[in-house]
Structure formats: structure tokens, C-alpha cells
């Protein structure tokens, strides 16, 4: 069945469907059972499934991540939720030393089906400790899968695939996506490891993660007005990475900007740029350009925060620069801001 719903409703629907079909699925983490229910994504789960299958925890990210691992090793499918991805840094030992390694060290005997959901990204002055993405950090570890949905359909379908996956999956949700509305087909399956072309074009490929897709689609609209058709490729899963779709697009357009929702240095953007440079070397008309966060901690004040994050405008200016075009006059062009929320439809 198709319906027009928000990203938060899509996540909620995915949780409900999986909890209905599999009694081993449960949701836990600080605040999952309170009145705010993680931006509404866990709304109604306690009422529907009871406090054993949706429960809050002490402020113990490290131990709770180990608890998720122990439950997963015992045949359950836990979903551990963090209201900010930054807090997972408290649990990196369990992620980087235990859950990513135990299958390997057991000679393949242990299976670890668990999902760590976390909210990432910009809010309203979220600053340095409430805004990190960390997908490059997680994806660095063999043994983990890392998913960054952008559309409501992908939020729904990729969360269901993540819950059904027999490996540890880190599932990162940008907080500005919750309000976005889109068509969601509840029958549609999206496997992990497939990128998606969100907008077709032949002049330039924009390889994007998470919120950067929203910015890239806006940039694509603006650039189309002056006859530039850019292609927007949403990576959707960082690990495993769909190299084929990315490489195929760049071979077609012969130009590429990587727009990653993270710092550039040693980040996922570096991985993408290396991949594209290696696999598309002979086809590229110019070096791969990279966009990402400014190389500083995220500042709180809005004027500096605006400079910290890449945006549709950053992408447009980069495309103009790479093609040697004059900067278009974009005064009066409406861009996304916290106050001017983009609600879709996607």
C-alpha cells in the first residue's frame, strides 16, 4: 500500500511492521519510551507491544551497547537507539572491539543481528557535541554495516532491511529529515548496498550522503535553469558501498563532486574520491571535487554554523567554479533553513 507520510512516520511504520512480524525484535535506549519518543519515531510502541519490547535505559551507552550485543548473540534482534550519534562515542569499545569482531574471532559461529539507530546532524544551534555524523568512523571497521537513509521510502525500507540483516548495522538519521514527506510503498524492499539515482543528468555527478541529497536536489533545480543537468547519486549505504552505480554515473558525466555530510579530511568523502579517481581515471575531465564540513568543531552561532555546513549554494558555486562559469545571482532564491523547513514531498 502506498501512502504519503513523513520520514518519522516511515521509521515508525517500519518498526511496527518488524515488531509485528518477529517477536524477537525489540527497541531500547534512553528516551525511546518518553512523550517525545525520539522525534516521534518510536511513538506508540509501548502501547502496542508493551514495556518489555520498548523500554528506556539508564545513561549507560557503553554497557547498553554491550547489552544489545549480548541479546543479539542470544537470538534476539535488538534495536538500540541514541538521540544523538555523538553519544555513541561512549560506546565505541563495544562497537569497535566487540560487535565488529566477534563473528570473525568465533570462526563464523556467532551471528549478531542488531541495529544501532542514531540521530545525526544540524538542528538549531546543536553545536559541537550534538551534530556529528560519524558514518566514516563506523564504516572504517570491517564487520559493521552503515546506512544513511534520506527519503521516507528509504527510511522505511532500509530500516526494515537493517532489522532483518544478520549483522550489526549502524543506521543514521538526519534530524531535519523527520519532517520530510514522501510516498512510501510498504511492500517495497530496498536491500542494503544499493545506491539510488535521485535526479538524472549528464553534466556532473553529485555523490551525496544523507542531508546532502536534499541540498543537491535543490542545487540541481537551480543549475537546470542555466542548462546544466547534474546527476544526484544517493549512496544510501556507506558499507557495503554500491561502487557500480557511483562509477557508472561518473563514467557517464565525466565530472564529479562528492558532497558528504561529514568532515572532509580522512572521511567517507575521501574514500569516494579515491574510488572514483581509481575507477574513472581515464574518463574524468577534471579532478574529483570534495565538499563537506569545515575542518573545525561545529560552532553554535548561526552565522558561523552557516559557514560550517555545506549547502545547495556551496554545491552550485562549486559546479560553477569547476565549469568556469560566472556565479549566478541567487539573491532572492529560497534555500533551506531551520526556519524555512522543507517538508517535501520528496
Amino acid at each position: 500500500m502506498k501512502s504519503l507520510i513523513s520520514f518519522r512516520e516511515a521509521l515508525n511504520l517500519a518498526l511496527v511492521k518488524e515488531m509485528e512480524s518477529d517477536p524477537s525484535v525489540f527497541v531500547f535506549g534512553l528516551d525511546v519510551d518518553d512523550h517525545k519518543s525520539i522525534f516521534g519515531s518510536t511513538d506508540g510502541l509501548v502501547e502496542k507491544f508493551g514495556g518489555e519490547r520498548c523500554f528506556g535505559t539508564p545513561l549507560s551507552e557503553d554497557a547498553m551497547t554491550g547489552v544489545a550485543l549480548g541479546a543479539a548473540m542470544s537470538g534476539l534482534r535488538p534495536i538500540h537507539v541514541h538521540i544523538r550519534a555523538d553519544f555513541i562515542l561512549l560506546a565505541m569499545n563495544q562497537i569497535g572491539n566487540m560487535m565488529s569482531n566477534l563473528r570473525y574471532m568465533s570462526g563464523g559461529k556467532l551471528t549478531i543481528p542488531l541495529v544501532v539507530r542514531a540521530v545525526i546532524g544540524r538542528g538549531w544551534g546543536q553545536s559541537a557535541q550534538h551534530s556529528k555524523s560519524l558514518h566514516g568512523v563506523f564504516a572504517h571497521f570491517p564487520g559493521l554495516k552503515v546506512v544513511l537513509p534520506t527519503t521516507p521510502q528509504d527510511g522505511y525500507s532500509l530500516l526494515r532491511s537493517s532489522i532483518r540483516d544478520n549483522n550489526p548495522v549502524i543506521f543514521l538519521e538526519h534530524r531535519w529529515l523527520y519532517d520530510i514527506v514522501g510516498d512510501v510503498d510498504d511492500e517495497r524492499v530496498v536491500p542494503l548496498g544499493q545506491a539510488a539515482v535521485l535526479h538524472e543528468g549528464d553534466a556532473m555527478t553529485l555523490v551525496c550522503s544523507s542531508w546532502m541529497n536534499v541540498e543537491a536536489l535543490k542545487a540541481a533545480k537551480v543549475l537546470a535553469r542555466r542548462g546544466l543537468a547534474v546527476e544526484v547519486v544517493d549512496v544510501r549505504t556507506v558499507s557495503p558501498l554500491d561502487e557500480q552505480t557511483i562509477v557508472g554515473s561518473v563514467k557517464k558525466t565525466r565530472n564529479c563532486i562528492v558532497a558528504d555530510y561529514d568532515w572532509i579530511f580522512c572521511g567517507f568523502g575521501a574514500e569516494l574520491a579515491a574510488l572514483i579517481s581509481q575507477r574513472c581515471f581515464g574518463c574524468l575531465e577534471r579532478p574529483v571535487e570534495r565538499l563537506g564540513f569545515a575542518p573545525v568543531p561545529c560552532p553554535t552561532t548561526r552565522p558561523l554554523e552557516n559557514l560550517f555546513y555545506p549547502s545547495a549554494l556551496t554545491i552550485i558555486r562549486a559546479v560553477e567554479r569547476l565549469f568556469g562559469l560566472e556565479e549566478a545571482d541567487l539573491n532572492g532564491e529560497p534555500f533551506y533553513s531551520y526556519e524555512q523547513r522543507f517538508k517535501g514531498p520528496f
Partner: protein
């Protein structure tokens, strides 16, 4: 304790001791390329606690895990195969000494990072409660783990949820070479734990019958009313933190007297118990001889066994 039961315990103690003494003999040949944290002096805790566990119990441990592995599995050949890095080891050689596990025997995981298996065991106990099953989960850790935040986080959560998990602290008073006095801001381990809603008890880990009595008592209470339990057992680490040698002469601790060594050696001490309950010296010798052959065979088989093929590098990462 009946003779038969006591001899079966003795066999386990001797197996662990002889296996580790064999490692000490062979290790300097540099064919076992894995750091070994030997548990000579600690055998009584794993053997005693595991003796009390109902079938189907699950255990978690640390890098000092040889006693636990051999107690739970009895798998001498697999044990040595893993230490020699061979394909027939339980981890195909990918685990080595510090990460031995045997999920099929309930030994779910051990870890080389202090304290890391504690919350995982609590998660396994949560799964028992979630599924409405009553399996017991036990996690062994050293006293150093109690300085890790994750220990207190785990104890707190287990107590909050009344989980059937047994925390077993194997206290040798040392974290590598650092003495307890330089690490603990609390007066006593049991006193610190007593503030939590769990059962707690402790004793001399070198005294196998005492370990068994203590463990049985808390397991009984856990079965009457589900709650976590904390057991504290002291023991003497006879060897260096890692490696096959003694280190009483390097200056950070004194060598125990002969009397102390005899009292703190769980194997020698249990031999006295065996003789007291009517076993003969011949009974003991028969056990030692049989185990010696088992260990000799395990080492020889491991030395002659094949390594994993190059393709194995890439298997077992993801399901």
C-alpha cells in the same frame, strides 16, 4: 563430596594445569604466536563455578581464559590448535589465546579488553528474561575490571532488571603489575557491590570446595528470586601477567613462602581434599597420567595440523 565427583573435578584441574605447564615448556620455541595470559593459581575458580552450573548455562570470560575454555569444553585438541594458529582451532586460528570461545558449549566470548564481556553477558541474561527462559549466564573478570565504568553500568542495569547473571570477580590483586592499593578508591570490593540490589558472597578461590559451596549458595538464591549475584574470589597469580615465566624476582611483589604456595595452589590443595575423602595416591596418579597423554597428543596434533588457507582471511567477517 563423593570420590567420583571429586576425581572428575581433579581431572579438570590437572588438565588445565598440565596444558599450561606444556605451554610454558613449548612457548619459547616461538611456534605459538599468540600472547598467553596463563592462569596458574586461578584454575579453581573456573572449575568450581562451572561445576555448579546447570546444563545450558552460558559463560563469558577474559583473555586469561584457558581454564574457562578447558573446563567448559574439555577440548584439548581444539585448544592447542587455536594456540598454534591452526585451522582446527575453535576460531580457525583467527582468535588465538586471548579470544577463545565455544558458543556450542555455552562459552560465548572472551575478550582482550578489560571489562568488555561484562555488559554482553548482561545482554545474554536480558535475552533469557525476554524469552521467559531461565538459563544462567556467568561472566568472569579480573579485579581490574571493577575500575572500568562499564562494570558499574552493567551491574546497575542487571540489578535494575533483576537479571539472572552471575558476576565472578577473579581477584589476584594485580592489574598487570599495579597493586590494588594504587587503584582502588573503595575499602572493599564486596562492600562496594553490597550497595546494589544483588546477592553477593566471596571466598578463597584456591579452595575448590569453598568455591563450589559459595557458588551453589548464590545460585540457589537466584533460582528462588531472580536477581544478579556477585562472587568475589581471591587467588595468587603465580606467573607474570603475560608470558610463560615467573616474575617474583623483578621487584614489584614478593615470592610467596613454600607454605603460602602450597596453600594458594588450587591443585595441590584439592589433592589433600581427595586424600581426605578416601582417594588413593594411585587414583591421583592415574588421572595425571591420562591427562599427560591427552595434552601430549593435543600439542603434537596441533603442531602437525594445517594452517587456514589464504581464502580464510576473508571469511567470517559478515553473516
Amino acid at each position: 563430596m563423593k570420590k567420583e565427583e571429586a576425581l572428575s573435578l581433579y581431572r579438570k584441574l590437572v588438565l588445565i594445569r598440565q596444558a599450561e605447564e606444556k605451554i610454558r615448556q613449548e612457548y619459547l620455541k616461538d611456534e605459538m604466536k599468540t600472547p598467553v595470559h596463563l592462569g596458574i593459581g586461578a584454575e579453581g575458580i573456573s572449575v568450581g563455578v562451572c561445576h555448579c552450573l546447570p546444563a545450558g548455562s552460558r559463560t563469558f570470560g577474559t583473555y586469561r581464559n584457558h581454564a574457562l575454555y578447558l573446563t567448559v569444553t574439555g577440548d584439548v585438541d581444539g585448544f592447542f590448535a587455536e594456540l598454534y594458529g591452526k585451522l582446527l582451532g575453535p576460531g580457525k586460528g583467527k582468535a588465538g589465546s586471548m579470544h577463545l570461545s565455544a558458543p556450542e558449549c555455552g562459552l560465548m566470548a572472551t575478550s582482550a579488553v578489560v571489562g568488555t564481556t561484562i555488559p554482553v553477558a548482561v545482554g545474554a541474561a536480558l535475552a533469557e528474561a525476554y524469552k521467559g527462559t531461565s538459563g544462567t549466564v556467568v561472566v568472569f573478570f579480573g579485579d581490574g575490571a571493577m575500575e572500568e565504568g562499564v562494570f558499574w553500568e552493567s551491574l546497575n542495569f542487571a540489578c535494575l532488571k533483576h537479571l539472572r547473571v552471575l558476576f565472578v570477580c577473579e581477584d589476584n590483586g594485580l592489574a598487570i603489575h599495579a597493586h590494588a592499593g594504587g587503584r582502588r578508591g573503595f575499602r572493599s570490593i564486596l562492600e562496594a557491590v553490597a550497595a546494589f540490589d544483588c546477592y553477593h558472597a566471596g571466598g578463597d578461590g584456591s579452595d575448590v570446595p569453598a568455591v563450589i559451596r559459595c557458588t551453589r549458595r548464590v545460585l540457589h538464591r537466584m533460582s528462588e528470586q531472580p536477581k544478579p549475584a556477585f562472587l568475589h574470589f581471591s587467588y595468587l597469580r603465580f606467573l607474570e601477567h603475560v608470558g610463560p615465566k615467573e616474575d617474583f624476582d623483578v621487584g614489584y611483589r614478593r615470592r610467596p613462602s613454600r607454605e603460602e604456595s602450597a596453600r594458594l595452589d588450587p591443585v595441590l590443595r584439592f589433592e589433600k581434599e581427595l586424600l581426605r575423602i578416601g582417594c588413593t595416591l594411585d587414583d591421583l596418579e592415574a588421572v595425571r597420567t591420562a591427562v599427560k597423554e591427552q595434552v601430549r597428543h593435543g600439542v603434537e596434533a596441533a603442531q602437525n595440523a594445517p594452517f587456514a588457507s589464504p581464502m580464510e582471511l576473508y571469511t567470517d567477517v559478515l553473516a
